[in-house]
């Protein structure tokens, strides 16, 4: 019975961590869908979002309402940052070999991390993210904290909004078209450049939201905090099928649960290795991911 209780508890923790991964994985998968680029800098967007939230909350003071409101400036800031990165660094390389854009993405990622490190008001030392006093609710013998409730509400809300944008607005449908066939989409009168910028804006704002949620759950923020969640979210995106939006959500959740279960029952040091083990496994068994469509190479 105690085992079952712990299993449920860890699964719940995994679901909340997985929701954060899912939000971040959506950014990877959408960007990969439209420009076929692994945006290495996406994990660092999470870091930037967390820091914007940190400074905003320091100024406003921490209350539940302010915490919810802090998402707006963070998401707006990262939206602008994401579009700026795309315009300056990725757009000029769109017609060059893919490896060039990948290397540039690494450069951008490093620039954000080390830039934050040398900025005098951020610096290399970890800071404590302002959090609400911890309140635990008990439900059938399982503890659920109000941070976890916040994570579920925000993550589900944002995913519903995203789903609406993608499936029920013109811009969203244009995004799907660009992701399906860029050339044909352009011929149909879709402004491909604008759609790509829009995708980066959407992905980066979700990344910023994930940043504040991540910082609320693990309230220590520093310039390199985005690397590990970024890599895991990428793995989640590949696991679910890169380019597939429901796949990213599913992959994120699975990865989060797998990670907390490993931490809870096996060993906490193995947790990172498990994530990469999962990646290798999926690449060997089903490279197109759980929900991805198998794609032949086009000449």
């Amino acid at each position: 019975m105690a085992f079952l209780q712990q299993l449920c508890q860890q699964t719940l923790n995994g679901l909340s961590l997985g929701s954060i991964y899912a939000l971040l994985a959506l950014g990877y998968t959408m960007v990969y869908g439209v420009v076929k680029l692994i945006n290495f800098a996406h994990g660092d967007i999470l870091m930037v979002g967390a820091f914007v939230g940190y400074f905003v909350l320091k100024k406003w003071g921490i209350t539940p309402v302010n915490l919810m409101l802090s998402f707006l400036p963070a998401m707006l800031f990262c939206m602008i940052l994401g579009v700026l990165i795309e315009k300056v660094c990725y757009k000029p390389l769109r017609n060059q070999p893919r490896i060039n854009a990948l290397i540039t993405a690494i450069g951008v990622s490093f620039f954000l991390e080390n830039g934050a490190r040398v900025l005098p008001f951020i610096g290399p030392n970890p800071r404590v993210f302002p959090t609400l006093p911890v309140v635990n609710y008990r439900l059938f013998g399982i503890n659920i904290s109000q941070v976890q409730i916040l994570i579920f509400i925000v993550a589900i809300g944002l995913m519903l909004i995203l789903n609406y944008i993608i499936n029920h607005t013109k811009t969203g449908k244009a995004m799907q078209a660009v992701s399906f066939d860029k050339g044909a989409a352009a011929l149909m009168g879709i402004n491909v450049d604008r759609i790509i910028s829009f995708t980066f804006a959407l992905g980066s704002s979700l990344g910023a939201a994930a940043g504040i949620l991540f910082a609320s759950a693990y309230p220590q923020i520093e310039p390199y905090m985005g690397i590990m969640p970024g890599m895991k979210a990428f793995i989640a995106a590949v696991f679910g099928g890169i380019g597939s939006i429901p796949g990213a959500m599913l992959g994120g959740i699975i990865l989060g649960v797998a990670e907390t279960l490993t931490k809870g029952f096996l060993s906490s040091q193995l947790a990172d290795a498990i994530a990469f083990g999962l990646l290798i496994l999926i690449l060997v068994v089903k490279p197109s991911g759980l929900l991805g469509k198998p794609m032949g190479e086009k000449v």
Partner: protein, 340 residues
């Protein structure tokens, strides 16, 4: 002058050059500190050459060469300290262990398109680092591994031996890669970078050559690490972080992807520059990514792109100096001669 005598003459020039450099170190014309910096520069150039093989010539981005360096370094240290192997065997063992890791990582990932290799090698680099921290019996854990036997304890020989060995290894790696890339195997490797589908259609076994290039790349990366361990005498897991992998990538990109000369020049130049720029402290960390982005945006072929992307060829130079017609272009060459 025949092709053969030309090659022999070039080899002699390289040998004389290496001996001259070592004499300069021996008589402390090149000071001990400078020679140490140059030794590290040589090691960096070796590892960057390995990275260039897979990323520059084969077109598959790898981001974990600090991990291969770590495998090579720790294996050599373990072979020296636990098994008491002679130095040469320990260094070779480190490089071979690294090649084995490369083979095992490449096997599942290289069947797929290049993007996945980037992320898997990145993860590999991080996992190796975490493993090094968590295996204290073998690696000394987070505090690092002290007391690795060095090449020599003799005061007079101390700066010379690592210097000589590293530059000898660098020369051999350059010759090996140059010969490989000018063979039909090399043509197959480069064809994968140019167009994987076309290469496949022409009968190139794409997966085999990718795996071969990646394993050899890991071997060279491990060799760099293996040479490093007895030179420095101390290893710590945090020497081999992601930052380090990206430093190798910057060397390759700056020198020009797919150009051996550029990698050697950039490897030695950039390491030296790093020492000069020490006063900038943390701001150096921002300069590196900016170099990476600017080179990619404005000069994607690197510094050697400014010189028509040609390799430096000693045999060509020899022919030219003797006032003869060049011997059919690129067949030659040993770039170690222009190491400085």
């Amino acid at each position: 002058m025949s092709k053969k005598t030309n090659t022999i003459a070039s080899a002699l020039i390289v040998a004389l050059f290496l001996i001259l450099l070592n004499l300069l170190v021996w008589f402390r014309v090149i000071g001990e500190y400078t020679s140490q910096v140059l030794t590290i520069a040589g090691i960096n150039a070796i590892i960057a050459l390995g990275l260039n093989l897979i990323s520059g010539f084969t077109g598959q981005l790898a981001l974990g060469h600090a991990g291969f360096m770590a495998v090579g370094a720790y294996t050599t240290a373990a072979l020296l300290m636990k098994v008491n192997l002679p130095m040469a065997l320990a260094v070779l063992g480190g490089a071979l262990m690294s090649a084995l890791f490369g083979f095992l990582i490449g096997l599942p990932t290289l069947r797929l398109r290049g993007d996945y290799l980037a992320i898997v090698t990145l993860g590999f680099g991080e996992i190796i680092r975490v493993l090094m921290i968590n295996l204290p019996e073998l690696t000394g854990g987070p505090a690092g591994l002290k007391g690795i036997p060095t090449y020599t304890t003799n005061f007079a020989w101390r700066p010379v031996i690592p210097f000589a060995l590293v530059y000898l290894a660098l020369t051999l790696v350059v010759v090996l890669l140059n010969n490989l890339l000018n063979s039909s195997h090399g043509a197959a490797i480069v064809s994968i970078r140019e167009d994987e589908i076309a290469a496949n259609a022409m009968g190139v076994n794409v997966f085999y050559y990718k795996l071969f290039a990646f394993t050899l790349s890991a071997f060279i990366g491990g060799l760099g690490g293996a040479l490093y361990a007895p030179f420095f005498g101390y290893l710590s897991p945090n020497m081999f972080n992601f930052q380090k992998s990206v430093e190798f990538l910057i060397i390759v990109v700056l020198g020009g992807m797919g150009n051996l000369t550029g990698t050697v020049v950039a490897g030695i130049g950039l390491t030296y520059l790093q020492e000069i720029l020490r006063f900038l402290k943390d701001y150096r960390l921002v300069i590196y990514p900016v170099i990476l982005i600017i080179v990619m945006l404005f000069q994607p072929s690197g510094i050697m792109g400014l010189f028509g992307n040609k390799e430096f060829s000693l045999t060509r130079l020899v022919s030219k100096m003797l006032g003869e017609k060049p011997l059919g272009g690129e067949e030659s060459s040993d770039k170690a001669g222009e190491v400085q």
